[in-house]
Amino acid sequence: MEREVLFRIRRFDGEHAYWQDFQFKARKGMTVLEGLYHIKESIDGSLSFRASCRMGVCGSCAVKVNGRPRLACETQIFDIGDTLEIEPLDNMSVLRDLVVDMDGFFRKHEAVKPYLIRGGDNYGNPKELMQTPKELHAYYDFSLCIKCGACYSVCPASATRSDYLGPAAMTAAYRFCADSRDEGKDERLRLVSGSEGVWRCHFNAECSEVCPKNIEPAKAVQKMKLMSAIRIIKSIFR
């Protein structure tokens, strides 16, 4: 099955932003990413976009399709329709066409200390740490974040405040706080409890709607809020 489809893509050459239309024949099962590659390889070689794994694990190809962030590699053209408006993600400055500046996004992730904090490990002679399947399950789903930026793109708090940590960073913080092997919960809670942290989230919850891995960042942030509130209250009584 083949059909004519129209890709209306938001281009940016460093100075001017404009829409450009591309028409081509798509077949059933073709993904948006395959469509973009087809345009680049056969119609206009200057179209720039990020892509790598084409199987939804690397997080490179997140773009807005008809207003909603999706992974281009996982989105079937025929599922959307005959006309697709493709734009770069929001809340990050556009470098070129569909490529956005993700440096800020990654710096925010780094700011929450997204690594296991432990005291007594021996690098030269490491020991196995015990963790039951139940303990693994408590945080595992949140460890699936591919850092695609879709949640960050739809977050209204990220849209209004450039220093807001964002759903992905705080989900990472929760993933480590909930890991039974971690010893850095207090340290991390302190980092996310400021005015640019969990308390700027007001449960818009669109992040959970668009996450391609169904990680539920909104849930992680609210759980962090509870942890943070308990910590603050406890510290008053200490």
Binding site: S52, M55, V57, L116, L136, I146, F176
Partner: protein, 570 residues
Amino acid sequence: MIMEVIKHDIVIIGAGLAGLRAAIASAEKSRDVSIAIIAKTYPIRCHSVCAEGGTAAVLREDEGDNFDLHAWDTIKGSDFLADQDAVEFFVREIPKEILRLDNWGCPWSRREDGKIAQRAFGGMSFNRTVFAADRTGFHEVHTLYERCLMYPNITRYDEYFVTNIFIEDNSIKGISAINLRNGEMTFFNAKAVILATGGAGRLYGFTTYSHQVTGDGLAIAYRAGVALKDMEFVQFHPTGLIPSGILMTEACRSEGGYLRNRDGERFMKRYAPEKMELAPRDVVSRAMWTEIIEGRGIDGPYGSYIALDLTHLGEEKINERLPLIREAARKFSGIDPVDEPIPVKPVAHYTMGGLHTNMFTETTVKGLYAAGEVSAVSIHGANRLGSNSTAECLVFGRVAGEKAVEYVQGKSFAEITKEERLAEEKRVFDEFLGRSGDENPYEIKKALNEVMDRYFWIFRNGDEMKEGIKRIQELKRKYENIEISDKSRGFNTQLIHAMEIGFMLDLAEVVAFGAYAREESRGAHYRLDYPKRDDERWLKHTLAHFTPKGPKLDYIPVTITKWQPVERKY
């Protein structure tokens, strides 16, 4: 023309498993060396995240596993082309890597008693493959990436595309890279360089590889004089999803999946009666391909295929052990493995060959190291066992990182002269980007993929390979005449792709020459005109050196310690 020169003691190219592990190893060994990680994508976009099945390690010696057994499995799996001293070293190092990853937060799947779980894998005589659901590579990469953030002496340069390395008096002095963001050429002065740029799978059309795996490091080092070893050995993984080529991990079979032909038969009993679906990958791929060409494949809209049947495993087991597989099968081929068998076909998956290194990751150039898939130590010989590649990246990533720190002690920077910098700028921007021509580089890539898929696939023969070599050389000539229509600088991905296609053409020639010259069948290299293994004449590694006329082939012996080659039956 700014031509920045940045100085770092150790420069690591490639931010996948091996590159990140090398950076951590260097930083752990010394707080004082400055380490740079340079990669053409953000680290977590690397191809290593696609690895699914697991990492093999001898963790339970008290339960019956031992190092010699793992070494034997690996050496037999390699069809005796692996260097046995390196393998013996390798198997003893992996268990500590698994435990370090555990300490650093990797979400290993667990047994009921809380210990790290292990599962069966092809060619392994003990269930020693450690796994994190079926996204092992993903979790390992993220764990290493997050760990890297802890070291102040690691600096990352994300989205820099390396174009060349600079060598003087057979010592490495630095590299050149395009900063994708603004299109400027940046030069890095280094005392040691670690190449961890991965394999070259995008030579093929039907492949599990990400778009970015184009053999950059392999080609650049090859052109600079480093030998490529055993490039003719390309692994074809039995189960690639149709039509995308997305990997259906070996774990599908190790958790109990079956392979069936059009008669519903578990045909593996005719090819590997003992191990069945868990025979090594080259055996299974050949079996599947034979079934297809002999007409016992199942017909589909994309040609003949084999059915990977997981329906008898049950939804719970699939959701627990193979969640990514279920998601990928549904999303990319519309099949739910709980209800229907998955359509699969053998797919290009791993490059056993690579830059010639010793077991300390040293190349013949002083200060230049190579670790991971880009290197051929050789651990995997003519065929790699599943779950040994992620292990190789971890072990040799660490070795490279530590060796580099030792090497740079007391060394000083050698200058990349202004002439050299201007020459590289001119080569890339004036001569390459600026030229006009008739050919579309993407057409050349498509044609290259077709040639490789047709003439250098699972079953090869001399006449076809000769034709294939002619076609590759024709494409190389056409490549001299390409035009890159996008002349802009900022984030010019067409320029990058065109350079990658140039790299792949060089590597295709090496694969082709090596395959044509090797007159035997061993591991993944199978010739219909020479179907037997020939230890007398061919128990040796192929070395390819760059010459302007094409690769010049030499041979070096295989290191044998304990295990003499025997017939390889499963």
